[in-house]
Structure formats: C-alpha cells, structure tokens
C-alpha cells in the first residue's frame, strides 16, 4: 500500500506467513488422518528457512568478489524474498512402523499446536498494524 516503507515488507511477510500456516494446517490434518494407513509417508511444508535465507542474502556480502569479466558468475547473488514459495516435501526414507507408515502422532499434534499459535500471533500483528494506521489518521 505505502510504497517503499518498512511497513510494506512487514505486511507482505505477515500475509505470506498466514497463507503458509493455513497450508501447514491442511498438511498436518492429512498426516493425522492417515496415521494408520499402511505405506503412507508424512508430508512437510518448508518455507520459513528459505525465507530466512533470502532475507539474509540481502545484507551486504561478507566476502566481496572482484569479477574480471561481466560473464563470470558472482559469489553472492541476493535472492528476492518475494519469490520464495512454500514447498511440499514427502519424507520417503524414514519408517516408524512395520507397515512403512512414518507418521508420529505426538509430533504432528505438537506441530499443529505451534502452527495455531503462530497463526494467532501473526493475525494479531496484522490487526495491530492496521489499528496503528487508523490511529495516524485520526484528528
């Protein structure tokens, strides 16, 4: 909404985080529903670590590189955090039971609780940001 403000970046990160939390909730629900299905492999959502890496790469590179030819590849290319998308990954190589099912129900429950808490925190922050902007408009 407001161009080039730090609030825009925060707003974008919060909205994307809310989307990813919803996806994660669906994935965990699917894992728990299939806790007794033989040959089922649990699925995971990765997003936050990739986002952290993208944001980290925007800071100044620690090892500046001198390129002698414009066609040479640079060491550090900053990754735009806007291009990071959540990825669905299936854990193929672990086993928990004899029927090749690898869903650990306690872990899934803990993940779901953490996910809900995260969603509530982020939604609360979005609401507070909007309240702040309304406050700035008063008077």
């Amino acid at each position: 909404m407001f161009i080039d403000s730090s609030l825009t970046k925060t707003q974008y990160l919060l909205e994307k985080g809310l989307d990813v939390c919803l996806i994660r909730q669906e994935v965990i629900a699917d894992n728990i529903a299939n806790v007794d299905t033989p040959h089922f492999k649990r699925m995971d959502v990765t997003f936050e670590s990739q986002l952290a890496r993208a944001l980290e790469s925007e800071k100044n590179p620690r090892f500046p590189v001198y390129l002698t030819n414009p066609k040479h590849i640079d060491f550090f290319k900053p990754l735009d955090y806007r291009t990071v998308e959540p990825k669905l990954q299936i854990e193929h190589d672990t086993n928990y039971r004899n029927d090749k099912n690898n869903v650990d129900i306690e872990k899934e429950i803990a993940d779901s609780i953490k996910n809900t808490m995260r969603y509530r925190a982020m939604a609360q922050r979005v609401d507070d940001n909007f309240k702040m902007m309304h406050l700035a408009l008063q008077g």
Partner: protein
C-alpha cells in the same frame, strides 16, 4: 556584491556566469533549481491516478467478499479480512485528504 537583474531570472531559474575558467559551472548556461528537475506531473493527474488506485483496492475487497459468499472453498478467510481492512483504511485516508483539500480551498477563497 552582484544583485541579479530581472532579465537574469526566468521563473525560478537563475542564469549564472562563471568568470574564471577554473570556477565550477558552465559559462552562460542557466542553473535550474530542483523544483523543475523533479517535476513528475500535474497535481490533478496525480490525484486522479491515486483515486483510481483506491477504487481498485475497493474492487479487490469486493471481489474477495463475493468469492466468500459464492465459493468459500477457493478463498482464505484472512485474505478477505485483510482486503476489507485495507479498503476501509484507503477510504478513510481519501476522506481525510478530501476534507483537508476542501478546507485549504475554502481558506484560499476567503482570503481578503
């Protein structure tokens, strides 16, 4: 001290002459102030463009709310709420700016 004659000034641009080749500045070329260099457009055009952007924000919010009513399985609830809040904020902003503009206009009109 040299005071500029009226023919040296064009609007807000002042013609300057460098009297020595080592002085900075190009001889006989007018120095333009910052205001003209950063000119982006007429005030009316900018106002119109921004108001149509506010309209777009309202339309997005409306579209998402319609999706909520018709096919709720396609839309996320937080997207709907956030878009509604942005629409309200944008409208609030526009109303404030309109009020201030009208107040300023009336103040100018009532100048004696």
């Amino acid at each position: 001290m040299e005071i500029f004659k009226s023919w040296d000034v064009i609007g807000d641009a002042v013609i300057q002459r460098a009297t020595h080749p080592r002085h900075f500045g190009i001889i006989d070329k007018p120095v333009v102030s910052d205001g003209r260099k950063n000119f982006i457009g007429e005030f009316g055009d900018i106002l119109n463009k921004q108001i149509s952007k506010v309209n777009e924000i309202q339309l997005t919010s409306d579209e998402l709310t319609q999706k909520l009513a018709v096919t709720p399985n396609e839309v996320n609830i937080h997207d709907v709420m956030i878009a509604a809040e942005k629409a309200q904020l944008a409208l609030n902003f526009t109303r404030t700016i309109r009020d201030k503009l009208i107040t300023a206009y009336q103040t100018l009109i009532n100048l004696r």
